[in-house]
């Protein structure tokens, strides 16, 4: 086909494109993957029985605020890195804000607790499984994001993979909160963040292989 014929063909089908098309595409992938992760939680781990009560408490909302703000920051980064010439990523420093706030809460907790209980508070009852469960739940969300990327055009594949992993991890952690009964800030800061970072690291490694176009 010569170039002129190609242009003729392409110009026959020109749908309107919303300004927010990239955001919509990314959000659709995350929501679809998130629903799958939620099914996994309810079917295998089970929602914590005291969820109703917990939702009136501080620690549940502390955990959600932390993971959701990381998730929103990651979505912003994904919508930038899903485009050619993403420009400056200086805004990514904002992702440090929830981490710093949670650190502050954690330090306050430690100050109010006798040091003999610190270790039990830090390890909780589920530190061995928490990061792995967050990582596992991030897989369906990452898959949803891979679907989103099929119509997008990242040019920095390691970075795009890393923020996709970060987003998948953060939203997986948000869903994992429905199951996890842990309450301390330093637990969340360590083990949740570890699961999220693992997801981001794996995303960065897989990016060039999975996101090329």
């Amino acid at each position: 086909m010569n170039t002129e014929q190609l242009i003729e063909t392409l110009s026959r089908d020109v749908p309107r494109v919303s300004r927010y098309a990239v955001l919509q595409r990314v959000a659709t992938g995350i929501v679809a993957g998130g629903l799958a992760a939620m099914l996994l939680v309810t079917a295998t781990l089970g929602v914590r029985p005291d969820l109703q009560v917990a939702m009136h408490g501080f620690s549940f909302w502390m955990k959600w605020t932390y993971t959701i703000s990381l998730g929103i920051g990651a979505i912003y980064a994904i919508t930038r890195l899903a485009r050619p010439a993403p420009g400056s990523l200086r805004g990514l420093w904002l992702l440090a804000v929830p981490v710093l706030i949670l650190t502050g809460i954690g330090v306050g907790e430690l100050a109010r607790t006798p040091s003999s209980e610190w270790l039990a508070m830090w390890l909780g009852r589920s530190w061995t499984s928490c990061p792995w469960l967050v990582l596992t739940l991030s897989a369906p969300i990452f898959a949803g994001l891979l679907w989103s990327f099929r119509k997008l055009a990242p040019t920095r594949l390691h970075a795009a993979g890393a923020v996709a992993g970060l987003g998948a991890g953060a939203w997986a952690a948000t869903i994992y909160c429905l199951h996890c009964p842990e309450v301390s800030a330093i637990f969340v800061l360590t083990w949740y963040s570890l699961g999220i970072l693992l997801a981001a690291g794996i995303g960065a490694l897989l990016g060039p292989r999975l996101l090329r176009w």
């Binding site: 170039t3 190609l6 003729e8 110009s11 020109v14 494109v17 485009r83 010439a85 997008l152 055009a153």
Partner: protein, 178 residues
């Protein structure tokens, strides 16, 4: 045919509203730009037209990734650069290090921007009257008559200022390059 950043961006934005005519105009305007881009960056045995068509298809199918608040040509050449890099990566072929720069540099944009900065900084070293006389007709494209009216001086005065200013700049550049 539209070739400037502003024209291409305007066509792209119309195309995003679903305007098929603007979309066709845009794709046609991109063909010569892409041909010259790929001709300079690919080995002689590569089929430039394949790359041009491939890029047109991407501009068409992935146009939602264009952010209307950012320059259009930066978006376009980022895609074109990515296609070159991906092509060589796919074939596991190495690119000589001297060629990498030519793949990475955005077409002409950097030179133009640098030249603008250089001219601006040089002009600040001149007396304001001469700088204005050079800036108006030679940088901003006004006529001598317009420049004279804007500065409130005679046309011959403008011409003399331009002449003296350019001679002073010439002396300065020769001086600084020695």
């Amino acid at each position: 045919m539209a070739t400037s950043e502003a024209d291409l961006k305007a066509l792209m934005i119309e195309s995003l509203t679903g305007d098929a005519a603007a979309h066709g105009l845009l794709l046609r305007a991109l063909v010569p730009l892409l041909r010259s881009f790929y001709r300079r960056r690919l080995a002689l045995n590569e089929d430039v037209e394949d790359f041009v068509q491939d890029t047109l298809i991407i501009v068409h199918t992935r146009r939602q990734t264009y952010d209307q608040d950012r320059p259009f040509t930066a978006w376009l050449y980022a895609i074109a650069r990515y296609r070159v890099i991906d092509h060589y990566r796919r074939r596991r072929q190495t690119v000589a290090i001297e060629d990498v720069e030519s793949i990475l540099i955005v077409e002409g944009f950097e030179d133009a921007a640098n030249a603008h900065f250089d001219v601006d900084s040089l002009l600040t070293t001149l007396p304001p009257k001469q700088a204005r006389a050079i800036r108006h007709p030679h940088v901003e494209g006004k006529s001598v008559a317009e420049a004279a009216a804007a500065a409130g001086i005679g046309e011959s005065d403008v011409k003399v200022s331009v002449h003296r200013g350019l001679r002073a700049l010439g002396a300065r550049i020769r001086g600084s390059s020695q």
